[in-house]
Symmetry: C2
Subunit: 140 residues, 2 copies
């Protein structure tokens, strides 16, 4: 995982941003979890481990991590923003199934849907930059 940290430092450097203990602590925290964490949860985890990071810095840093695609912002419409790490076992493209009873978030991926999406965009003269696909479900 050293490579991820290296990449992050390089990314920062390229924009004249500085490699600070706070930014690294946040990155490392996001590397450790495959949950979908809210800002407050991330803040709490950091605090528990003795890493003091202010709320303002957390918010500012999450924007950076999103920009570099280390994490993805996940909004399921309940007013809480969650972050989905792209750093754990190299996961990238996936969408979410949200159980309305348990609140569980299950990831899914389907190649055919992927292709159909691209066709739809193309047909309209567009290309897809990003997408959100969420299924709100209940147990049968």
């Amino acid at each position: 995982m050293q490579t991820v940290i290296k990449k992050f430092k390089k990314n920062l450097q390229e924009e004249n941003l500085k490699s600070t203990p706070q930014r690294l602590a946040i990155l490392e925290e996001m590397m450790k979890t495959d949950e979908h964490l809210e800002c407050e949860e991330i803040l709490l985890k950091l605090k528990e481990k003795g890493n003091k990071v202010s709320r303002a810095t957390l918010y500012r840093t999450m924007d950076i991590l999103v920009k570099y695609k280390f994490v993805r912002k996940l909004e399921i419409g309940d007013g809480r923003v969650r972050y989905d790490s792209n750093l754990v076992h190299g996961k990238r493209n996936h969408d979410h199934m949200i159980c309305l009873d348990s609140g569980d978030i299950i990831e899914f991926y389907n190649d055919k849907i992927e292709k159909l999406q691209n066709e739809i965009a193309e047909k309209n003269g567009y290309k897809i930059i990003r997408r959100v696909h969420q299924l709100f479900v209940k147990k049968v």
Copy 2:
């Protein structure tokens, strides 16, 4: 369209809610537009027509309209909540393509994706209650 108003009144009655001028004005406003309106825009439109509705009532009523599926809440991740009317020319199932350059919101529907989604849910022991599918695009 009288039937929609009738249905609304019936829905209200069934929950011991009252049919008030404010609630009806909001419903009628949503029947007239096929845009994706924000709360402030709806409020403005109502005011322009001389219908005085307070912000609090608007928010409270939109929740009711969502519950009865007269409108759909649309969140495209820019921090603004929009409402998508289900009352205009009987549109129901559709998803959204959002142009990152112009901000345009284009509606789309694809039967195959629909089927694939159902299969995915089923395979995991779930049934789909609601879904969000958004493609963020740019012109080719």
